[in-house]
């Protein structure tokens, strides 16, 4: 029993060490890629694959988040005669929490899965070894462009999710539940600050980096065969999802502390 626990502990510590080294190498390689013009086409290609092609799915996600929030919250607010404040509730939830988190979860599924599958297949077919055998650092060539593309474009995608979330909430509130349009926007404008939008967008940098690094690591370390690649994809999504939630919690605490330091506490309604 002790032997099994010990062996597993050693294995987990070893895995954590390998992941830590991978993250460090990725940070160094990404920093270098930022100042190497030769790396820009690679980053650009990944931006297209990761960012541009994710726009429709992210927009759909954002729109439904706003609409569902509207449907669920309307009755509660209407019972207190506060239905005109529906926009505040929807918009602050969308821009601060649900927009970034659900957009990131969607990206973890769409982009993270693709990254793990692609790099995992390259790993089992010795393409990563081929990159190394030709004197090229695979982290610099394969990982850094993907991480940079995810890092830079996740915040942009979150803005799209926010925008569609706000429009979705507006559609439900004003078109479906006939709330006065002027009141809806007026209360929204007074309740949602630039800070809330900025917090959501900043979260995107962290979520994007986490999704890309975890997915690339799982691809680089996946076991042989179709089962190995499939398992790596599953592990990458689960690890990304948990990381997004953990990061969201940590960032919420940090940003709240920062906000409370500089501005007084305010009420939503």
């Amino acid at each position: 029993m002790i032997e099994i626990v010990g062996a597993r502990t050693i294995a987990h510590v070893g895995n954590a060490g390998r992941f830590g080294r991978f993250v460090w190498q990725t940070m160094v390689a990404s920093t270098r890629s930022c100042v190497t013009t030769r790396a820009y086409p690679l980053i650009w290609t990944q931006m297209n694959l990761i960012g541009v092609r994710s726009v429709p799915i992210i927009m759909i996600t954002g729109a439904f988040v706003g609409m569902i929030l509207g449907v669920q919250a309307y009755d509660q607010l209407a019972s207190m005669g506060l239905e005109e404040r529906l926009g505040v509730l929807i918009n602050i939830s969308v821009v601060k929490e649900l927009g970034p988190v659900l957009a990131a979860v969607m990206l973890a599924g769409r982009v993270g899965g693709a990254l793990t599958a692609e790099l995992g297949t390259m790993n089992v077919t010795e393409q990563i070894d081929a990159v190394r055998s030709m004197g090229t650092d695979p982290i610099r060539y394969l990982v850094a462009p993907r991480v940079l593309a995810c890092l830079l474009l996740t915040p942009a995608l979150i803005i799209y999710a926010d925008l569609l979330g706000i429009l979705g909430g507006y559609f439900v509130g004003v078109v479906q539940f006939k709330i006065n349009s002027w009141a809806y926007w007026s209360f929204s404008a007074s309740g949602v600050e630039l800070w809330d939008v900025v917090v959501g967008v900043i979260k995107g940098f962290f979520f994007g980096a986490a999704i890309a690094v975890i997915s690339c690591y799982k691809g680089f370390t996946c076991k042989e065969g179709a089962h190995g690649v499939g398992q790596a994809c599953t592990e990458a999504f689960v690890a990304s999802f948990i990381s997004i939630l953990a990061l969201d919690y940590a960032l919420a605490v940090i940003f709240k502390a920062i906000y409370n330091t500089f501005w007084p506490v305010r009420s939503l309604v």
Partner: protein, 294 residues
């Protein structure tokens, strides 16, 4: 006076009958190389000198560590213990950045070709060039691609993608990529595996042609004895992580070790036969239609 025993075994025509040459003649030298994966010892104290300009073929049954051995020559795998030298410089203790410079002097043909799926044939071949040189004149690069493809008999395939190529064509493109930087050493991992005899012989001829025209040092991992006899200046056989035979084709053909004879003649050994006999006949192991009749 000490006399190098190995030197006395070198034949007049330059071909050796057995044992390794001295380190001075070697472009790659392995000293007491051991590789373990967990508790599994794959290479067990291998000492070997690869001669410059010659073709050394490593044979052995599947899983005996041939690929692991060849990957150690450019440090795609790090040894558990032992030393690896390239041109008298120790490389097993170099960091990845320094190793990348050393690796540009090698070409590696992987078993499945390991071509990049997302790149065309031309882009695959120019990959190492684009990574290591600032290209100003693309017409020169196009000319180089044309030349390399002509060397492997695939003129006009520049715009094809790996998915559109046959297994043999992929290996030839991979070979063109491996020689793109005019390497001093080319490592081949099972170059003829999975190919029909004619395609396999095409690969053999290309390996010989490269050695003749570019004077490269070749290390070939294979279990194809036809190929080994055709291209080898020296054949090494691995078994249970150790070298059990080392010499030219004649030496290997007449080697007294029973495992060597079984391998080169493709014979199953008595122990395996005993297991097969004990497991019953195929007829007994099969269900017949009458087994399902009431």
């Amino acid at each position: 006076m000490m006399v190098d025993k190995d030197k006395r075994k070198v034949k007049k025509d330059g071909k050796r009958s057995g044992k390794s040459v001295s380190d001075r003649n070697g472009i790659i030298v392995l000293k007491n190389l051991t590789k373990k994966f967990s508790e599994n010892v794959v290479l067990d104290g291998i000492s070997l000198t690869i001669e410059k300009g010659k073709t050394t073929v490593v044979i052995g049954p599947s899983g005996c560590g041939k690929t692991v051995l060849v990957k150690h020559l450019i440090m795609l795998l790090r040894p558990s213990s032992g030393e690896v030298y390239f041109k008298r410089r120790r490389i097993d203790n170099l960091d990845e950045k320094e190793l990348n410079r050393v690796r540009t002097r090698f070409g590696f043909l992987f078993q499945g070709g390991a071509l990049f799926d997302s790149l065309s044939v031309a882009e695959n071949i120019t990959f190492p060039i684009r990574q290591h040189f600032e290209i100003e004149d693309w017409s020169q690069v196009e000319e180089l691609v044309k030349t390399k493809l002509a060397m492997v008999g695939l003129e006009g395939f520049q715009s094809f993608y790996p998915a559109n190529l046959s297994g043999g064509q992929r290996k030839r493109v991979a070979l063109a990529r491996a020689i793109a930087l005019n390497p001093e050493v080319v490592l081949y991992d099972e170059p003829t595996t999975g190919l029909d005899p004619i395609r396999a012989d095409v690969i053999n001829e290309i390996i010989l042609k490269l050695q003749r025209e570019l004077a490269v040092t070749s290390v070939v991992v294979t279990h194809d004895m036809t190929s080994a006899y055709k291209i080898a200046d020296r054949i090494i056989m691995l078994h249970h992580g150790k070298i059990i035979a080392d010499g030219n084709d004649e030496h290997i053909r007449n080697h007294p070790h029973p495992v060597v004879q079984q391998f080169i003649n493709g014979q199953v050994n008595e122990d395996d036969l005993a297991v097969l006999r004990a497991s019953g006949t195929i007829f007994q192991a099969q269900f017949l239609p009458r087994d399902f009749e009431e």
